[in-house]
């Protein structure tokens, strides 16, 4: 397997920024919050060229932070990200344009005071992909590619609907001719009928342009639809990784199984009593994660070992890995 996008043992901590006064107070023994949150913890991933990796998990699991680390928006506290063996960041600065991001909220991610054509042209002009005089045709091409009428380049974001804005955001990302596209919940804020349009556009573009993608979403059915492989995150760690059909069909981690079990499904049989395998309790605070396996307080398979020892990531097959002491029990119990 040739690795294209490599995420090597990446971690990211968020600590409180202490003022000088607070630092003195802490020295003198006052109670000042100095703990930091490990938003992403020792994550390693290898993604092939043209592959789409789905990243799922509940809010606060670190999936967006991981997306930002890969995109070079945030510097990692330790570890590194590289595309085609070239580092994305050097000395805390992004040094490549080969990775671009599409964000969740197209109302917040477009400058309301810039014409949308200027927004799309800004990056390519700055990086020499087009010239000021050629920008108009360049932008028009991308507008057509994402299904927008090129005559709209002189309009402002407020003149567009949510779905159209997301198309503009996609055009802006693709106009930079990236190899890697990070999509952070790109359809979460859209209506159901518009969601389908954007997902179709995404499928068409990633296949047509041979893009490598990281697709972040809390909507499992969307991830299942667009991804080749899926990574499940819990409290900053990847707990399971594998081809979509295998992970969805036969989860190896108890959390994956429980997460999939709690998704409401379209019920077509009136007599069928719907049952959810709801997970007990809530996600613990990342400020004080539990000892051992982070999932053990909510896990039906938890044993003494889980309370003390952090499970290592075990490779079940070439493309599949899981971090659980009892994955064999989980797999055989189905």
């Amino acid at each position: 397997m040739s690795v294209f996008l490599k995420i090597d043992d990446v971690s990211r901590l968020f600590g409180p920024k202490l003022s000088t006064g607070e630092k003195i107070a802490a020295k003198l023994g006052a109670k000042v919050e100095t703990r930091s949150v490990r938003a992403v913890s020792d994550v390693s991933l290898s993604i092939r060229k043209g592959e789409t990796l789905g990243l799922v998990g509940e809010s606060g699991c670190g999936k967006s932070t991981l997306g930002r680390l890969i995109a070079g928006i945030l510097p990692p506290t330790s570890g590194s990200v590289s595309i085609d063996a070239a580092a994305v960041m050097e000395n805390g600065r992004k040094v490549t344009t080969r990775v671009q991001t599409v964000f969740q909220d197209p109302f917040a991610s477009l400058d309301p005071r810039m014409k949308v054509g200027e927004t799309v042209a800004e990056g390519p002009i700055a990086h020499g992909l087009t010239t000021k005089s050629g920008a108009k045709t360049y932008v028009a091409e991308w507008f057509e590619r994402v299904g927008l009428d090129p005559v709209w380049v002189d309009r402002y974001p407020h003149q567009f609907s949510g779905g159209q804005r997301q198309r503009i955001a996609i055009a802006r990302a693709l106009a930079m001719k990236p190899d890697v596209l990070i999509c952070d919940e790109p359809v979460a804020s859209l209506d159901v009928s518009i969601q389908a349009q954007i997902i179709n556009l995404f499928l068409e573009l990633t296949q047509g342009l041979d893009l490598t993608c990281v697709f972040i979403s809390h909507d499992l059915s969307v991830v299942q639809h667009v991804s080749d492989r899926v990574a499940v995150m819990y409290l900053g760690r990847i707990v399971e990784l594998g081809p979509v059909a295998e992970v969805f069909g036969q989860p190896a981690h108890p959390y994956t199984a429980a997460l999939f079990g709690s998704v409401p499904k379209l019920v077509l049989d009136a007599d069928e009593l719907v049952r959810f395998d709801s997970i007990e309790g809530e996600v613990p605070s990342p400020l004080s994660p539990p000892s051992g396996c982070y999932y053990h307080p909510r896990c039906p398979l938890a044993s003494d070992k889980c309370r003390t020892a952090q499970p290592a990531t075990t490779e079940i097959s070439d493309l599949r890995a899981v971090a659980c002491h009892h994955f064999e029990t989980q797999l055989s119990g189905q």
Binding site: S193, K265, V267, F276
Partner: protein, 327 residues
């Protein structure tokens, strides 16, 4: 069927804006039996939230309910004086909102807020009211309720705050609860817990519920009947399983077909072309016609709701049941 608890007839709410009249809710009618859960589904701007607000008389200027009746146990809420309506709101009909951070007062403890809600409608000793509040918190799944009554909203997680909001809505055992996307802001694992509890509570207490949501899967697992809204009107209604298995309105059929679960992974999804029309300038006739592949001349007129027993749709060219495919 026994008399419905809630009977809504031709509910019409318009917003009189400078740009023109926005027909947010345009002739909505439905009945709700005791303990029944109805799912009200639609996309943003379809009028589902304004319908919910109208039922409780919560529509503010420039909006106004211009026509229709909302009969709760036989009394028309729309003709009541404001003070009478206020006496019933929260006691006989209550609402749960989408965002539990915005609905709870950050300056008061959960206990203080719940006592205010009790005292608004009943004269109870503080001790009795506190006991009631604690009992309800326990019922919605909040552990060590008595201690939690002394906590402030920021000390609760999102899921727990929504449980508190649900407990407040249940305080007076109302006949009807209007729930406006109460689980949309929550994670799936918490959503599953709350959906389970709400279903059990409705069955236990006989409270009828209107569950407003954009998510077909959520309502299908909870509601016994569905109403699908488009551009301010109900375009199709019927028992949940029937309606989802055999949708008649092309819009309902399109919504269901566009779900990712309905297509093999990796293949293009079925999509509804175009976008929802502006409520300021609705097309003549059927509002879905411009996006509909079944539309004809006839759709220039406005279709009436057909009456087919417990089902109904507003369409001249309903989708017919596909030939049964042997499994």
């Amino acid at each position: 069927m026994s008399d419905p608890v809630l009977s809504v007839q031709n509910l019409t709410t318009h917003f009189f804006t400078r740009a023109g009249v926005v027909k947010a809710v345009d002739g909505v009618s439905f009945d709700l039996a005791r303990g029944e859960i109805m799912g009200l589904v639609g996309e943003s701007g379809s009028g589902k939230t304004v319908t919910g607000f109208s039922l409780l008389g919560l529509v503010d200027a420039p909006g106004r309910i211009v026509d229709g009746s909302v009969k709760l146990n036989g009394t028309d809420l729309l003709t009541l004086p404001a003070s009478d309506l206020r006496a019933r709101r929260g006691r006989e009909i209550s609402m749960i909102f989408q965002d539990p951070i915005a609905t709870l007062n950050p300056m008061l403890t959960i206990g203080q807020q719940m006592l205010l809600a009790v005292e608004a409608h009943e004269r109870l000793s503080k001790r009795a009211a506190t006991a009631r509040a604690a009992e309800l918190l326990t019922q919605v799944g909040i552990p060590s309720a008595e201690m939690r009554l002394r906590a402030y909203p920021h000390e609760f997680s999102g899921g727990m705050r929504q449980r508190v909001a649900i407990a407040i809505a249940l305080l007076h055992r109302p006949a009807v609860i209007v729930a406006d996307e109460p689980t949309t802001a929550l994670d799936v694992s918490i959503q599953a817990q709350i959906l389970l509890q709400m279903r059990d509570l409705a069955a236990e207490t006989g409270t009828a519920m209107i569950w407003i949501s954009h998510d077909l899967a959520v309502v299908s697992s909870l509601a016994s009947k569905l109403a699908v809204m488009y551009a301010g009107r109900i375009v199709e209604q019927g028992p949940t399983a029937d309606l989802l298995r055999d949708p008649r309105h092309p819009y309902t059929a399109g919504l269901i077909a566009s779900l990712p679960a309905m297509t093999t992974p990796g293949l293009p999804l079925t999509q509804i072309p175009g976008t929802t029309p502006s409520l300021l300038s609705l097309p003549v006739g059927c509002p879905f016609a411009p996006r509909c592949d079944r539309s004809s001349e006839e759709c220039q007129r406005d279709p009436e709701m057909t009456d087919q027993g417990d089902r109904g749709w507003r369409c001249f060219h309903p989708v017919t049941r596909p030939a049964e495919v042997p499994a």
